[in-house]
């Protein structure tokens, strides 16, 4: 593996080819905030909170740190007025779902996000997909999945699989940044009991 040299927040970084910006930043102690990222799972690029600024060949672009691979000689900035504004808006949009989430509240402080900015939504889920991906990639059970599309997209347990697999597992519970998962699971169970 060859070495790739780049700059992150003014620090010279010697990264390994194939690393993401997120990983490379960590080697020099720069933390990029994430919500949908998990070290054991494939990069997802869904929440977009880890958006950073990349300057390459005289052009500036905005990419997500959890997916974008290191490239030689690029200059990466993990904070700027524009990035902070993007993170603030993303957090405000998520806070409309989960105003009481501890993880979100912590980040909201850092980025001065206003939880009341947008209309409150009934579902807690912020669609990070951690439960869905963990169940697929690590457990290979696929007991929980996304259904529907666009603004109607939500997570849903497959009752037949959930009834067999979930009671003794529950490993996805602590992954959820909003506690919405548990509600969804209980809901699936209650349907089963009725049906």
């Amino acid at each position: 593996m060859s070495e790739v040299r780049l700059t992150i927040d003014g620090k010279e970084v010697a990264a390994t080819e194939g690393m993401t910006l997120l990983e490379a930043a960590r080697t020099v102690g720069v933390e990029i905030p994430t919500l949908c990222h998990h070290d054991k799972l494939e990069p997802y690029g869904g929440c977009r909170v880890c958006t950073v600024e990349v300057e390459a060949w005289g052009r500036t672009k905005y990419v997500v740190g959890c997916v974008y691979p290191v490239e030689a000689d690029i200059v990466v900035r993990t904070r700027s007025e524009k990035i902070d504004q993007i993170r603030k808006t993303i957090l405000e949009l998520m806070l409309a779902h989960a105003p009481d989430s501890h993880d979100l509240a912590e980040m909201a402080k850092e980025y001065k996000a206003d939880p009341e900015k947008y209309r409150r939504e009934s579902s807690f889920c912020i669609h990070c997909g951690l439960c869905v991906r963990y169940c697929d990639e690590i457990k290979g059970k696929n007991a929980v999945t996304f259904v529907d599309q666009g603004a109607s997209r939500e997570i849903s347990f497959i009752p037949e699989i959930a009834a067999k697999e979930c009671w003794d597992c529950k490993e996805c519970f602590p992954l959820c940044p909003t506690s919405a998962l548990q509600a969804a699971y209980v809901l699936a169970r209650s349907f089963e009991d009725v049906g």
Partner: protein
């Protein structure tokens, strides 16, 4: 729909996981909706997790996970039809049949789908009833069309 028929469709696509969408489309085409047993069979034969089959079935509006009515209504809600009064057509369908897009009435006579642009913009607003176009629909004309569906 019998398991044989489902298997026939799966065999036609050599049970390739890549043909998942095409297989579901074929089942939908023959049966007009996707019963749970069909999804399970497809999952089993293709070796694709049931959750993924369900995810795809639930994602696309063309697939129906509940039985459809005897007659399929497609109301165009593309931009041109929207400007020319597609909402009034939808409202009239609701008044006559009591259904909104995505629904089937209690007697299973009609299923209603809102679609994007049928490519018949000069006729807007347009509704298709069982594959037959009806254009330039004012509310009274919409009502007549629906009443004439046997």
């Amino acid at each position: 729909m019998t398991q044989d028929k489902i298997d026939q469709i799966i065999d036609k696509f050599e049970a390739k996981p890549r043909a998942l969408i095409m297989i579901l489309m074929d089942i939908q085409h023959h049966n007009r909706w996707l019963p749970k047993e069909a999804l399970e069979r497809v999952s089993e034969r293709l070796g694709v997790p049931l959750a993924k089959v369900q995810q795809i079935a639930a994602f696309y509006k063309t697939f129906s996970l509940v039985p459809k009515g005897d007659h399929e209504l497609h109301v165009c809600t593309g931009t041109s039809c929207h400007l020319r009064g597609a909402q009034k057509v939808l409202d009239t369908v609701y008044e006559v049949a009591g259904i909104r897009p995505g629904e089937t009435d209690s007697e299973s006579k009609f299923s209603l789908t809102a679609v994007n642009c049928m490519g018949a913009c000069s006729l807007g607003p347009v509704m298709m009833v069982d594959g037959q176009y009806h254009g330039r629909l004012a509310p009274s004309k919409t009502e007549d069309v629906l009443k004439n569906v046997k």
